[in-house]
C-alpha cells in the first residue's frame, strides 16, 4: 500500500512516499508508523486520510486505498 507523507512526517521518514504492507486497519498503520518512526508518536495527533477522507482508527484498509499521513503544522 502506498502511503503519502505530509509535513514533518515526510521529514521524519526522509521521503514523501512509503510502502506499507501487512496492515489491515488505520490503527495498525499507526502502530507500524510509530514503531518504524518513533518521532511520529511524539506528535500525539496524526491525521490519517484514506481516499482523501479522514479515517478513524477502526477503518479497514484495502491494498488499493490511497492513504495519506497528515501531521499537525504550526508555522505561520
Amino acid at each position: 500500500m502506498r502511503v503519502l507523507l505530509f509535513g514533518i512526517a515526510k521529514d521524519i521518514a526522509g521521503k514523501p512516499v512509503i510502502t506499507v504492507d501487512g496492515v489491515n486497519t488505520v490503527a495498525e498503520l499507526k502502530s507500524y508508523l510509530y514503531k518504524t518512526y518513533p518521532r511520529l508518536e511524539q506528535l500525539r495527533s496524526l491525521m490519517i486520510a484514506v481516499n482523501k477522507t479522514y479515517a478513524g482508527d477502526g477503518q479497514v484498509l484495502q491494498a488499493s486505498d490511497e492513504v495519506a499521513v497528515i501531521p499537525p503544522v504550526s508555522g505561520g
Partner: protein, 362 residues
Amino acid sequence: MKTQRYDRQLKLEGFGPEKQQLLNQAAVLVIGAGGLGVPVLQYLTAMGTGKLGIVEYDTISITNLQRQVLYHTSEEGQPKLQTAIRRLQQLNPEIQFIAHDTWLTPENALDIIAGYDVVVDCSDNFGTRYLVNDACVILNKPFVYGAIHKYEGQVSVFNYKGSATYRCLFPEQPEPGAMLNCSDIGVLGILPGIIGSYQANETVKIICGIGEPLSNQLLTIDTLYNTHYTFRITPVPGNHNITALQDSYEQPCDTGGVKSLTVQQLQEWLEAGRPLQLIDVREADEWEVCSLEQALHVPMRMIGGIIPKLQRDVPVALLCHHGMRSLMVAQQLDAAGFPFVYNVEGGIHAWACEIDEEMNIY
C-alpha cells in the same frame, strides 16, 4: 463607503453591492500580523472589511522581511501592530482598525474574540492554535485556519455552522519538542503569501455567503510540486462541547525557548512603556556600579524565590553583565514554563557601550 474604490468587485457577477455591504459590516479578528497575517490584513483591508482587529505583540525583525512584505527595512525593531495599522490605514482609510497590543492568552482570549464575527488564525505556534480553537468553540465563532511547514501549507474553515474543529483533525497538542526547532525550520517567502491569500479568500466567502467554504475540508498545498489535495473531514462528537479554556496552552518549543533581545530593542520597549518584567541577575556589588532604573534586582542565586511572584503572561527579560548568567536564568524560566522569556544580548555592558555612554563600565 466610496464605491469607486470597490468598483471591480461591485461589478463582479456573484458579488456586487449586496456582498460588498456584508463585507463593510463585518468585524474580523486577525491573530498574528506575521507571515500569514500580512496578506490576510492587506486583502481584507483593501477589499473593505468594516472592522479589523489585530492581535500582535512582536516587533519587526530583519529576518521577517523576506515574507512579511508589509514592513520596511527601516522599521526593524518597531512594533508590528502599530506599523501594520499605519500602513493599512494608508491603503484604505475607510477601515476601522482595533489594536490588541498583546499576545493571545487564556486570560484575554474570550474577551477579545467575543467582539468579532470571524477569526483568522495566523499564529505560528500550537499553543495559540489550540487556544484559538477552544475560544472560538466556546463563543461559537467560525475561524479560518492556515499553517505552513517548509514548502507546504494547510487551510481550513473550522467551527462554521457546526463544522469540524481543529481538534477534530488533531485532538491533542504535540509533545513539547516533537517538532523541529520552530524558528529553525525555514520558509520560502512566497508560501505564507499563498496560504494567507487563501485564508483571506475563505474569510470573504463566509462573510458574504458565496461559493463553498473549506468547512469540513482540509486543503493541503505543496508549492514545490504543485499538488493540491482536499481532504474530507467530519465533526467529532464532543469537540463542540468545550465550556472552559485550559489554564495554559504553553509549549516550550512554540516560543522557540529563550528569545534574544538586543539592547536597542530593550530601549525601544522601555521607551514605549510596553509591559515587561526586566530582571537584573547580577550581584549586589555589580548593581552598585551601574543599573537600569526599570530593572528589578534579583541576584542569580535568589531567582528561585521570585519565580512564583512573576506574571506569566507578561514578557520577562533577563539582564546581567555580558549576557551569560542571564541566559542561564532565562533557560530556567523557560523550563519552568514561562512563555515569553528574553535574554538581553551583551548584558548591561552592551547597554553602556551602545545606549548610555555615561553609564559606568566594569
